[in-house]
């Protein structure tokens, strides 16, 4: 793979039909003592510049593993990618050499993590850690890199950046630490930013600040944002489109308005109905029964069938494909028409 084809600047545009980032039929498995865990089972999604894709799912649904595969930060082994493509501007990242991959990671595609305190190194100052991006990737001198770090801290609105650059991570509050993570991730103007539960550990008022900051940075640079979350409220607030994951597969993907108006998969529908609503106060909440499946012992057919109120006999035997519903909408349910229409209960 030649590096030149990867250097297409966003200004040149002209991506044609090829999205900025396309995950195609990705499979990831982990070899464990108890057996092979298929964490990701044929996931496909795509992202365009300036777009926000929300990947929604519970723990163990494979949403973070997919993101780590895109970043190329999975430990292999035990992880293995037996099948699939991750195309960034038309180039399959999985076929690149380690060296070429390093050029993409952090520079073209970067990531922020849930827990900023454990993602930052406690024994270096934040200035040193932010400026490291410029020293390593851009070969800048220490002094220039530090000046750049101050600029970035200003950009993510950390007050008194010039003084605080010599502070250590523990001297910052949770929200400020997440801003430092964001500063590091946007340091090299990436085209894709993956945010893995960026606000889960934060208070709501701070969450609102961080989401606003992310939206603003996205508007400025037109980067594509993949937001991994389990919070249906955050998704409704910022996403353009949604991919819902369950047990390593995408069970539904759709533009944000469609999914909240009328979900086409029983799992999505169950999640939306289990949100406490004002008009139903005092009544029992709708709860999806049962538990998420054990990835070592997946149900046959559709992985959701043991918990599904729409289940028929063929759900137990045949795994549903991702049915096209309309335009950009898909649902992996044999009975998506019934789910769209109404209520089996």
């Amino acid at each position: 793979m030649s590096k030149t084809s990867l250097r297409t600047s966003p200004a040149e545009g002209g991506l044609g039909d090829e999205p900025l980032l396309a995950v195609e039929d990705l499979h990831v498995e982990f070899a464990t003592r108890a057996g092979v865990v298929r964490a990701v089972n044929g996931v496909s999604y795509s992202l365009n510049p300036g777009e926000t894709l929300a990947v929604l799912g519970e723990s163990g649904s494979g949403k973070s593993v997919t993101a780590q595969a895109i970043m190329g930060i999975l430990d292999m082994p035990p992880a293995r990618i037996p099948k699939g493509e991750i195309r960034f501007r038309g180039t399959d990242l999985l076929k690149l050499s380690d060296e070429a991959r390093t050029q993409v990671r952090g520079q073209r595609i970067s990531m922020i993590f849930q827990d900023a305190l454990s993602a930052l190194n406690p024994v270096f100052t934040v200035g040193w850690q932010i400026s490291e991006m410029f020293r390593v990737h851009r070969g800048m001198s220490k002094r220039d890199a530090m000046a750049k770090a101050v600029e970035l801290m200003d950009r993510v609105r950390i007050p008194a950046a010039k003084q605080r650059i010599h502070d250590y991570p523990h001297q910052f509050s949770g929200g400020m630490r997440q801003r430092i993570m964001i500063a590091m991730s946007i340091a090299l103007d990436p085209e894709v930013l993956i945010a893995d539960e960026p606000t889960t550990a934060l208070d709501v008022t701070v969450q609102a600040q961080i989401m606003e900051l992310l939206a603003e940075l996205q508007r400025e640079s037109n980067m594509g944002l993949i937001l991994i979350t389990h919070d249906l409220g955050v998704v409704a607030d910022v996403a353009d489109k949604i991919a819902v994951m369950y047990a390593g597969r995408i069970v539904e993907n759709a533009p944000v308005y469609d999914i909240y108006r009328a979900p086409a998969h029983p799992y999505t529908k169950g999640l939306l109905e289990s949100i406490p609503r004002v008009d139903l106060k005092g009544q029992e909440l709708y709860a999806i029964k049962g538990l998420p499946p054990n990835l070592l012992d997946m149900p046959t057919g559709c992985a959701f069938h043991p918990r599904c109120p729409y289940r028929q006999d063929n759900c137990v035997t045949d795994a549903p494909p991702l049915y096209g519903i309309s335009g950009a909408r898909n649902s992996a349910c044999h009975y998506w028409r019934e789910v769209l229409d109404g209520d089996p209960r």
């Binding site: 519970e58 208070d203 008022t205 919070d231 249906l232 409704a236 999640l271 406490p276």
Partner: protein, 338 residues
Amino acid sequence: MATQGERILEVRDLVKHFPLTQGIMFKKQIGAIKAVDGVSFELNKGETLGIVGESGCGKSTLAKVLMALERPTSGSVVINGRDMAKAKGSELKRMRRNIQMVMQDPYTSLNPRMTVGDIVGEPFEIHTEVAPKGDRRRKVQELLEVVGLNPDHINRYPHQFSGGQRQRIGIARGLALQPEIIVCDEPVSALDVSIQAQVINLLERLQNEFGLAYIFIAHDLSVVRHISDRVAVMYLGKMVELGKDLEIYDRPAHPYTQALLSAVPVPDPEGRESRERIILQGDPPSPANPPSGCRFRTRCWKAQEICATEEPLLQIRPGTAHLSACHFAETHDVVHAG
């Protein structure tokens, strides 16, 4: 069955300060973290009081003081007419039976080396009068059944259960001594969305069945609204607003409550561009050195001179029907505005 409306818990001017010390040999107090700084409220039988606030506002310290895990610096916690803050020895032990706790994290609050039977039955070891020795196993199995677990799993270890099931174990332990009050400190925030609803339903069912009163501490405002009869909002060790759930959510009077409510993402994209959002600047100040007067004034858009000099008391303000602590309290529906 308990009759509704009977006063069961009364907290008056509760203060908990943690000393800040300097020096190794000769410790000298140089200040105090004012974690809870003058909180008053009451709780009736069978009622749920929701407590919301951000991290550092003192809600978990409040829970610990109510549980008598921490002794208050001053103030009183009166349970059924007796002050737990002054109780000692066997009286304190007896009072503790009546107020139990469900913790946030079912992964760390259960001892991994104890079986479920031992965990749920441990309260009986301390309060031996509740269940005679030969009766304990049967009692524990009954409790497991009440919270929706298989009584045959009594000999299993916590790691053999999922997060939601573990939280049920924690709830069973809380129920063991048949308390009248249960303090739930973020009972569902560590659980997956599809499991949260199951646990909330369980808590509501148990409340109806046993006439329990809950103090429900959480940061998820929609969950609090669903389960609570009344809601208290805390900021930096103080209660800033207290009222019925409808009053707090539809007619909030304190600017902080309004900001908090407007910051909660609404799970519906419809009209998201026009929604009103009050984005607070900065972080809450340190509880070691809170601002003078009103503690919220450093982040408040309504702040005037009086806010720095005079502390607003938690009282009913003109034009509102519930308690709020703001000189310029004014009801404003942030949730439905826009």
